[in-house]
């Protein structure tokens, strides 16, 4: 049976098709205001799925409009990461606007989780705004940070205030790579606090778009003294998990 999972996040939408535990297809779009049309169009282009399960920030609207079931991102990411990295007991997901940490048992069952509160501090959106202030693309921020020296601290976690700090540092002529590293460190610090709150166990499975940032991955491994595993496509674990769960219901 072919099943589909769609993860409607605040910054991007992912679609994954699965058959017999094999990924058949994956697609990704930037979330627009009218995400219902985006999802409808995406689904119209892929054929042959029997079941659909949606997750993410937009799950309620899509589930109501399309008449399908929904699960939370917590459950979807847990299923996706457990499928890709079965040994994982601790998950960190840093997406567009939230950060989540999840503790799993050996069967992939969610034991505990933490989610950031309403502000986007330390999330993908934070790094997007900061890379603009630094004048680089968000995908290049990790590489830039890795070439920086650990000499600065960004004290504001608030996106608005941190941007002001970055602009002030730039005006002083500070090395952009050092600022990038300081920003990465602040994201890492926040994630570590949330990881410790659920109780770190074993290696960390890191998913969500921010897991593509190599500097964050490296900083995290150093900070917790554990291995950090990133799946090949870390922004698709939610949609993958939803597709897998669709076949299991």
């Amino acid at each position: 049976m072919i099943t589909a999972g769609v993860d409607i996040g605040s910054r991007s939408i992912e679609l994954v098709l699965v058959e017999n535990d094999k990924i058949l297809e994956q697609q990704r779009l930037e979330t627009s205001f009218d995400y219902l049309s985006q999802v409808t169009d995406m689904l119209a282009e892929v054929n042959g799925f029997e079941r659909l399960l949606v997750t993410g920030y937009g799950r309620h609207l899509i589930s109501g409009e399309l008449g399908c079931d929904h699960v939370t991102e917590i459950k979807a990411h847990s299923r996706g990461v457990h499928f890709l990295l079965p040994e994982t007991r601790t998950i960190l997901d840093i997406g567009g606007q939230d950060t989540k940490t999840i503790a799993l048992d050996g069967n992939g069952r969610v034991l505990r989780f933490e989610m950031n509160d309403r502000c986007a501090a330390g999330t993908g959106r934070f790094l997007e705004v900061m890379s603009q202030a630094l004048g680089c693309r968000v995908i290049d921020l990790g590489g830039l940070a890795l070439s920086g020296a650990d000499s600065l601290t960004i004290s504001s976690m608030c996106t608005v205030f941190a941007e002001t700090e970055v602009v002030a540092l730039r005006a002083k002529g500070t090395n952009a790579a050092d600022v990038a590293l300081a920003l990465v460190n602040s994201v890492v610090q926040r994630a570590v606090t949330m990881l410790r709150r659920i109780g770190l166990k074993g290696d960390v499975g890191f998913c969500g778009g921010v897991a593509r940032n190599r500097a964050v991955v490296q900083g995290l491994a150093g900070a917790v003294g554990l291995k950090v595993h990133v799946p090949e496509n870390p922004d698709f674990t939610g949609a993958l998990g939803a597709a897998l769960l669709a076949g299991e219901n």
Binding site: Y57, H60, V71, T72, E73, I74, K75, D98, R109, V110, L111, R112, F113, M115, D117, R118
Partner: protein, 425 residues
Amino acid sequence: MTSKYNEMWQKLDLDISAHAGLLSVLGRFYNDIYLSQQNRLQGMEYLDFVLSEVHGLRIRELQEARSAGRRIIGTFCVFVPEELILAADAVCVGLCAGAEAGFEEAERYLPRNTCALIKSFFGFRLAGLCPFTNSCDLVIGETTCDGKKKAYELFNEFTPTYVMEVPQSKRESARKLFKSEIKRLVAALEELTGNRISAAKLAGAIRLVNRRRKALQRLNRLREAVPSPISGRDALLINQVAFYDDPSRFTASMETLGDELEKRVAEGTGIVSPGTKRLLLSGCPMAVPNWKLPFVVEGAGAVIVGEESCIGERHTRDPVSEEGDTLEEMIDHLTDRYLRIDCACFTPNHERLDHITELARRLKADGVIHYNLQFCQPYAIEASKVERKLAAADIPMLRIETDYSMQDIGPLKTRVEAFVETLNF
């Protein structure tokens, strides 16, 4: 609500158009959160009626009482002994403060990072939105947190406010202090009303309030049944209305509702299916019309079976002893009863941890949602102890910190739904 009360509201100095706006928002909320429920109890019609007339008929009753020479006294906390107010032949209304109203006005006096409840009672008063506050001859505050304590000093500039000192421990010296505070309140009430609080009057008031506690405790007990016979939203509403409705009439209605619930439980019919996850809410009070979290929780397919909160268990759990004939004995009983309240303002506060665990077990709760209003330090900090205590008893807990705004509804839904998912495995 029609405008037949406009004249009364004008006399009470309300901002008529802002108030009309508030009522229409409330009406929509009530419709979505309450009237849309299926299979509701017949006895809830009384609550629907009371709510629909919350700023109308009940306010008219207060004006009539006032014309007949009775004083209207507002309170914000379960520490203020209602029995004394009733024994002085005054009317007691628990003021609500559960909506984001008048916050801009409130923030002219209060720091932005003040809890929503304090901002709300200021906001309602300053924006001319609360006919209850504006009907009060006196508001009795208390010192249960620093925010309220200091806010009452400012509030006194708008409405006469008397502050009762609540101790922070339960040692003998604290008991002495609280007893002296009760006596000071007796004198203040006698002076305000011109009525003497006699032993006979106080005994009658104690019996009246106890009867209401008993009726509400009976409802709470009936929620031990699986499936639960009443939604958490309805139960919260009952606990909220208990603070401002006429106590005799309200109690009689709740006794009737209790009979209906008992019948439902005997028939095994519930408001939800038997497998529905059962949750206990614990923490800060949810004042009218703060229905946000219960709406999210029950929207996520769970049912709330108890409220470990001042608008819930802490208000109704302990009766006042009805023994003794002298005023002094009764004041001792009141002191003992009110000092049994396990508010997070006390240190230490072990009793609360035991109560939550006991309540969760008795109600067969699958989990506990600990709710604290943002910037409410006592409950926010105590949450860590609650979490550990519940973990030791193998009861899952979710911590929620929020306020009255609707901005965080999305993330709240995700958290609560994910919590319910973990219970469903």
